[in-house]
């Protein structure tokens, strides 16, 4: 039995009378791609926000890399190796693509209380940043302001930023949202390259992507995890078909 990298223990989050996260216990093992699916309003984003530290759960615990991180602030979780991409693209729009990734590299290169040296000429930041951009296929867009990148390119940029610190777990919140078929396929191919090497928690609407990538799938409905298992099993699960897949294919 491999010790999970990330695990939640009966996580509960209520908004007034609505139970957005209803005693959810999930885990992600090292190197595993675990997909989280569920219809709109199932509580996926609420769950992600608790994992990243943007929301505090009402009860339950979150363990990451052998530590209880339930009360740890966002930036400290990132330092431990929990990186994320956002559902709604979130980049530094005024900065170039290269600057964006260089800042992501900088976040993991010790403290930033350095006031005098030119950070844009620091090869310890620029080198890895350029490599990161090249990895996601944005090498030729390095000097373009992030705001001027296409939607798909911005999503790729986000992934490059998330990968910059060589995170132990990558939390991808609907990375394919708003992407064309071709772009999605390219991203799927790219992410598949990490299969078995980097743990990911993938929140995604695109069922093709989920079934191509995931080692394991958890289905969330009304805040509850109703099923969890390998893709084949989930596809065959009648409860899941009715609650979720049925709706999608109908």
């Amino acid at each position: 039995m491999v010790e999970p990298l990330l695990s939640t223990d009966r996580l509960i989050k209520r908004f007034g009378g609505l139970v957005a996260t209803d005693s959810v216990s999930i885990d992600v093992k090292p190197g595993e791609i675990h997909a989280l699916i569920g219809p709109n309003g199932a509580g996926k984003t609420t769950l992600v926000s608790q994992l990243t530290g943007n929301l505090a759960p009402d009860s339950g615990a979150i363990h990451f890399a052998g530590r209880d991180v339930t009360r740890l602030p966002t930036h400290a979780r990132v330092r431990l190796g929990l990186a994320r991409s956002f559902q709604i693209t979130s980049v530094l729009r005024e900065f170039t693509a290269l600057d964006n990734v260089a800042l992501a590299v900088q976040a993991h290169a010790g403290h930033s209380f350095r006031f005098l040296a030119d950070a844009r000429r620091d090869e310890r930041l620029r080198g890895p940043a350029r490599q990161g951009l090249a990895d996601v296929g944005l090498a030729n867009r390095a000097d373009t302001p992030a705001a001027a990148l296409s939607h798909g390119e911005q999503r790729q940029l986000e992934i490059a930023m998330a990968l910059a610190g060589d995170p132990r777990l990558l939390l991808l919140d609907e990375p394919m949202a708003g992407m064309g078929v071709e772009e999605s396929q390219r991203l799927i191919g790219f992410l598949r390259g990490f299969k078995g090497r980097r743990a990911m928690l993938l929140i995604e609407h695109d069922m093709d992507a989920v079934f191509q990538l995931a080692d394991r799938i958890t289905v969330l409905v009304y805040g509850r995890a109703i099923a969890s298992g390998p893709p084949g099993e989930i596809r065959a699960n009648p409860e899941v078909r009715q609650a979720y897949l049925g709706e999608e294919t109908a």
């Binding site: 956002f86 979130s90 980049v91 729009r93 005024e94 930033s112 209380f113 005098l116 620091d122």
Partner: protein, 322 residues
């Protein structure tokens, strides 16, 4: 440096700095002592504007109480001087450290809020110090206090107007140099990144609050320096140094000059003082007495700049990169 002289921005800035560098010689040659006093205040206010620009322009934090650092720097000099401590080597470090500490305290409380709340809290803390100073009977309360200038025996005589001006100008140079490094340093990029998208910066792993607090403290320290100089310029301190109107003026100057640009605060200060000095007599030419209402003209000018020249005066030289 040579290459940047070929751009209009570089040329204009170089000329401006050159004129400022030799200003005492010019005012002496044309026998315009009064202009040197304005020039000195422009240089001092520029230091304050640059310090505000670090958090407002680069950091996107609208601090509406920056003049409080004028007051803290000034009162440190004034109070020590009142008690017989005339030495600048004591007064100045005390003033700067006091301003930095106060900035750290305000920052620790206000930086947890956003937007309008941040504006109101920074204003409230500035008003607090304002009213405390206005109640200090021992130091002149509302009327303020005449003080003697800081002494640096054997180094410089601040009573000499030209020497004092050059000292201020050198300190402006130092402040500009620091700001130019700050803007492209790792620290500066974190501050600028947080202005662009602080959620993203947090998600990248930056403890944004800590960096902002440090920037706020630094900014306060430079503001305190400006207050020390201001007290020495007028040989006088009073609560009026830190009225909220002055805080507003500093914001206007930074926006007018160009937020988040190196020389914007300098352009803004010059434009502000030139308009303040020249609009009243110009309007009086139209009809005697109109000069009193110069702000009726000044206000709409600011509105126009806010609407049509978003980057302030700096943007008139064309877009800058980086």
């Amino acid at each position: 440096m040579i290459a940047s002289l070929r751009t209009p921005r570089g040329l204009a800035t170089a000329l401006l700095l050159l004129v400022l560098a030799v200003l005492p010689l010019l005012t002496q040659a044309f026998d315009q002592r009064y202009l040197l006093s304005i020039g000195t205040r422009i240089v001092i206010w520029s230091i304050a504007a640059i310090s505000l620009n670090m958090i407002l322009g680069y950091g996107g934090l609208v601090s509406f109480g920056h003049a409080v650092f004028f007051g803290i720097g000034g009162y440190a000099v004034g109070i020590l001087s009142h008690h017989g401590v005339q030495s600048g080597s004591v007064q100045w470090p005390v003033g700067i450290v006091a301003a930095a500490l106060w900035a750290a305290l305000i920052g620790a409380l206000s930086l947890r809020t956003r937007g309008l709340y941040f504006i109101m809290i920074t204003l409230a803390f500035a008003q607090l110090v304002y009213y405390v100073s206005a109640g200090l009977e021992a130091y002149g309360a509302d009327d303020g206090l005449n003080i003697s200038r800081s002494r640096f025996p054997g180094l410089i005589d601040l009573r000499d107007k030209a020497s004092f001006y050059w000292l201020c100008f050198a300190l402006l140079g130092g402040t500009l140099w620091f700001c130019s490094r700050f803007a492209i340093s790792r620290f500066g990029l974190v501050i600028r990144g947080a202005k662009s998208n602080d959620l993203r910066m947090t998600a990248l792993g930056f403890p944004v609050f800590r960096y902002r607090l440090a920037a706020f403290t630094l900014s306060g320290a430079f503001g305190g320096l400006a207050g020390i100089l201001l007290a020495n310029e007028g040989a006088y301190i009073s609560p009026a140094m830190m009225s909220w109107v002055k805080s507003g003026d500093l914001i206007v100057i930074v926006v007018l000059g160009g937020m988040g640009t190196l020389f914007g605060p300098l352009y803004g200060t010059i434009a502000f003082f030139v308009l303040e000095e020249s609009l009243p007599p110009l309007l009086d030419l139209g009809r005697k007495g109109w000069g009193e209402y110069w702000q009726i003209v000044f206000g709409p000018m600011l509105v126009l700049i806010a609407l049509y020249a978003k980057g302030g005066i700096d943007s008139l030289f064309g877009r800058r990169h980086g």
